[in-house]
């Protein structure tokens, strides 16, 4: 009797799982959606990358954008192909702030920069290549750049460092650079990756996973000493932030060396977090951090990255002053996703244009 009841319940739960899955696939819109997750594929060295020729429309309450990945696994409507003699290529490395799934491709700062450079009347054609991938940190960018450099033949490489979390992400990914990584660890990683992909294919499982992560997050204060969020901006950051900055420095150096090997120059771009530009957001976060016993220093992360990367001697552009100096108008960042709005992209493109010009980085 009990077994029959159990079987009945499991069958009903499975049927409803299917109904919710179909419903969410039809009407749901989040990064957990299989359509969005279908943009990625597993990569043995990096973990994952954009899937060549993947295509989807990403819609939320704030935006709707078509995302197309070309054959090289980069967000672009066109294939990269061999470089014509009169073409100069600028590559933007980075995370979701570079990939910019929130805006149509033509409105990303890379494309806007390309338009600006080509409007100068030069005989050369400039092509700006968006090599950003959601969730990447300095180490993934370093590995990814190594894997694509041969195909894209860059003249200038601009790794865009997100000062908000890149130090933390660098610490979390440093084992990917370990040449002595044991096979068993790689197998475990591969299994985990496969499981993640399985979960990613289901909207229901994706949401349940996010719920579980939130529970674990809430439980963590009771099993570990509480740590204020946004450590990169803390007045007294955790030791891992200094470690993350050092790893980032090594990654940037590696990118510069790889670029140099391909005959390209490299310069660093620092991308601030929204609250560094948005006063209301800053006030809210400062209160949250203070509530956990911390002290949020608004520009600490930008200053720390500048100081940590200065010894490399690479040209460096901090986008913070340009974003702060933008005239009052529509938001520069989206409210829910904290990524750049089309206006934010315009401001960043203009700032990069100025930086390239002033530093004499424009490939000739």
């Amino acid at each position: 009797m009990r077994l029959r009841h159990l079987v009945t319940f499991v069958l009903i739960a499975a049927a409803q799982f299917g109904i919710f899955e179909v419903g969410l696939r039809t009407w749901g819109s989040s990064e957990a959606a299989p359509g969005f997750q279908g943009l990625f594929e597993t990569d043995a060295a990096i973990g994952y990358r954009l899937k060549p020729h993947a295509r989807t429309r990403f819609t939320t309450s704030e935006f709707s954008a078509e995302i197309a990945v070309n054959g090289a696994g980069l967000r672009d409507d066109e294939e990269i192909g061999p470089k014509p003699r009169d073409e100069r290529r600028i590559v933007l490395l980075g995370d979701s702030l570079v990939l910019s799934v929130q805006v149509p491709f033509r409105e990303t700062f890379g494309e806007l920069l390309e338009q600006r450079l080509n409007s100068r009347g030069s005989a050369l054609r400039y092509r700006v290549i968006n090599a950003g991938v959601q969730g990447y940190g300095p180490i993934e960018e370093q590995l990814f750049f190594r894997s694509i450099v041969g195909n894209i033949q860059p003249d200038l490489v601009l790794p865009v460092v997100f000062v908000g979390n890149d130090a933390e992400e660098a610490v979390g990914s440093q084992q990917k650079l370990d040449p002595n990584r044991r096979t068993s660890e790689a197998v475990v990683d591969s299994l985990l990756t496969r499981m993640r992909r399985l979960v990613r294919r289901s909207m229901v499982l994706q949401i349940l996973r996010l719920r579980a992560l939130a529970v674990i997050d809430r439980l963590s204060p009771s099993v570990a000493p509480p740590e204020p969020p946004l450590q990169s901006y803390a007045a007294r950051p955790a030791p891992r932030i200094a470690e993350g900055l050092a790893i980032t420095r090594r990654s940037m150096h590696d990118i510069e060396q790889t670029a140099s090997g391909a005959g390209a120059k490299a310069a660093i771009v620092l991308m601030p977090a929204r609250f560094q530009v948005d006063d209301a957001d800053y006030g809210r976060l400062k209160e949250i951090v203070a509530g956990t016993g911390g002290n949020l220093v608004r520009d600490a992360a930008s200053a720390r990255f500048q100081e940590a990367l200065a010894p490399l001697g690479m040209p460096m552009a901090d986008l913070l002053p340009a974003l702060r100096a933008a005239l009052p108008g529509p938001d520069l960042f989206y409210q829910e996703t904290v990524h750049l709005t089309p206006r934010g992209h315009t401001v960043v493109a203009a700032a990069l244009d100025r930086f390239i010009e002033e530093q004499g980085l424009l490939p000739r």
Partner: protein, 473 residues
């Protein structure tokens, strides 16, 4: 500690595991310690008030049990009521009355400096003072004998499922269950588990998701057309029901798992067709308390019609004030009082009475629609922050309804999404006239509702951990 927090989940798992293996007397000690911990988790400094209220009323009831002279008994009752009302008055209403008097004097041109204290409202004080007052009054009326066991009494007052937001229990309901050994039946386990799951659904899926809709419409800085105000008011009606009925269900469910039965606090309040029926089905434990300890002592309906109307009005105004120290709650109470009085008057007109009491579909539907909307208008008063906002929203409803401006994606669709599952189960329970109808349905239907409740809560619930609205009362 709120029911929708991980802290409570851990707390209850540990307490329940210990509860199941302990003998009766030790269970009571466990419940007392757990209940005090539950209360202290919010603010330990106010635990003293709870303990003081418990000891004072236990002692007063014991003295009442021994005293025979009416004057002495009255004196003891006055002492107990005075203590409880002073607690309530100071912590809940001091600044309200000080500010109001200051406003009145200022309007008259007198500058009087009142002392305004930064008094923090101890959570649940309105609930546990009403519990202890009802106990002493019952002993005074000789309806129950005073308990001789301080432990049992302390558990009765502090029992954590009902401590901070009710139901407001009577000694006749709970004290006897605490006093005797409890046996937990399979039915109690099943019903308790369902009530907990359904309570969380009502809170996390319905109330907390609809809160955003209601907040947007009731934002004083916002301006909405009448149709969108109406949708916002519907959202608040379901929010407050989901929030409070959800809390009551979790309280009843956790108690059932421990073999203790609490009274139903809600019984399909939005399906009724008269204001009397609404108050028999909404926050039942408060309605009964107000009836037995305020309305009837005022004279109830024993005097003239005018006296009955006066008693109703006073009871409802004080009931409104019980909800919070603000003039909007007083206005809401006055509205409910006038609504009841108006209905009594209209009901004496035979055509009206025949229509409302009629069994025809049209009569039932019409009277339900009118009653639901008059209830919703009460919620508009209740939720507004000022008389000015009540006026503004009312003007929008009447003068600028503009049905073409209905906000479909941001108001109508979410309202339907988050309220429809609640309404479906609500109708099912009402059909069987049983708030525990779901666990008694055929296996396939029952399991479908169980699974859908879990999926909807987990997939679409708002897990922000918002406090229950009634905590502030």
């Amino acid at each position: 500690m709120v029911f929708n927090s991980l802290h409570f989940v851990w707390f209850f798992v540990v307490v329940y595991a210990a509860y199941r293996v302990l003998p009766h007397r030790a269970q009571n000690w466990l419940l007392l310690v757990a209940s005090y911990y539950f209360y202290a988790a919010w603010d330990w400094r106010f635990l003293g008030l709870l303990v003081a209220s418990t000891i004072v009323d236990f002692t007063c009831a014991r003295l009442l049990g021994r005293a025979e002279a009416p004057s002495v008994r009255r004196g003891i009752l006055v002492l107990s009521l005075g203590f409880n009302l002073t607690l309530l008055g100071f912590f809940k209403y001091f600044n309200f009355f000080a500010d109001s008097l200051h406003g009145v004097f200022a309007a008259l041109g007198w500058q009087v400096d009142f002392v305004t204290l930064r008094v923090l409202l101890p959570i649940g004080i309105s609930f546990y003072t009403f519990v202890t007052m009802s106990y002493v009054i019952d002993v005074y009326r000789r309806e129950i004998p005073p308990t001789k066991d301080l432990l049992d009494f302390a558990v009765f007052v502090a029992f954590f499922p009902h401590l901070v937001a009710g139901p407001i229990l009577r000694a006749t309901t709970l004290l006897a269950q605490i006093d005797s050994p409890r046996h937990i039946s399979r039915e109690q386990l099943r019903d308790g588990a369902w009530l907990i799951a359904w309570g969380y659904f009502q809170k996390i899926f319905v109330a907390d998701n609809l809160a955003g809709l209601a907040n947007a419409v009731f934002d004083p800085a916002a301006s909405h057309t009448g149709v969108n105000v109406l949708l916002g008011v519907y959202a608040f009606a379901f929010q407050i029901y989901g929030d409070f009925a959800g809390y009551s269900n979790i309280a009843r469910g956790t108690s059932k798992l421990m073999g203790i039965e609490l009274i139903e606090n809600f019984r399909f309040p939005y399906l009724v067709r008269t204001p009397q029926a609404f108050w028999r089905n909404w926050h039942i434990s408060l309605s009964m308390w107000l009836r037995d300890y305020l309305y009837i002592p005022l004279g109830g309906n024993r005097g003239s019609e005018w006296q009955t109307q006066r008693n109703l009005f006073i009871t409802m105004v004080l009931g409104g004030l019980w909800h919070g120290a603000a003039w909007t709650f007083v206005l809401w109470g006055a509205y409910q009082g006038l609504f009841l009085i108006g209905y009594r008057a209209a009901d004496r007109w035979p055509p009206f009475h025949r229509f409302v009491a009629g069994a025809g579909f049209l009569a039932r539907l019409t009277s339900w629609v009118v009653m639901f909307h008059l209830t919703c208008y009460g919620w508009l008063i209740f939720r507004s922050r000022s008389a000015g906002q009540i006026g503004g929203l009312t003007a929008g409803l009447i003068g600028n309804f503009a049905p073409a401006t209905v906000d479909i994606p941001n108001l109508l669709v979410p309202l339907l999404l988050y309220s429809t599952p609640l309404v479906v189960v609500h109708l099912c329970e009402a059909w069987f006239d049983d708030v525990l109808a779901v666990p008694r349905l055929p296996v396939g239907v029952r399991y479908s509702i169980y699974a859908a409740t879990c999926y909807l809560t987990l997939l679409f619930g708002n897990f922000g951990g918002a406090e229950f609205i009634y905590f502030q009362f």
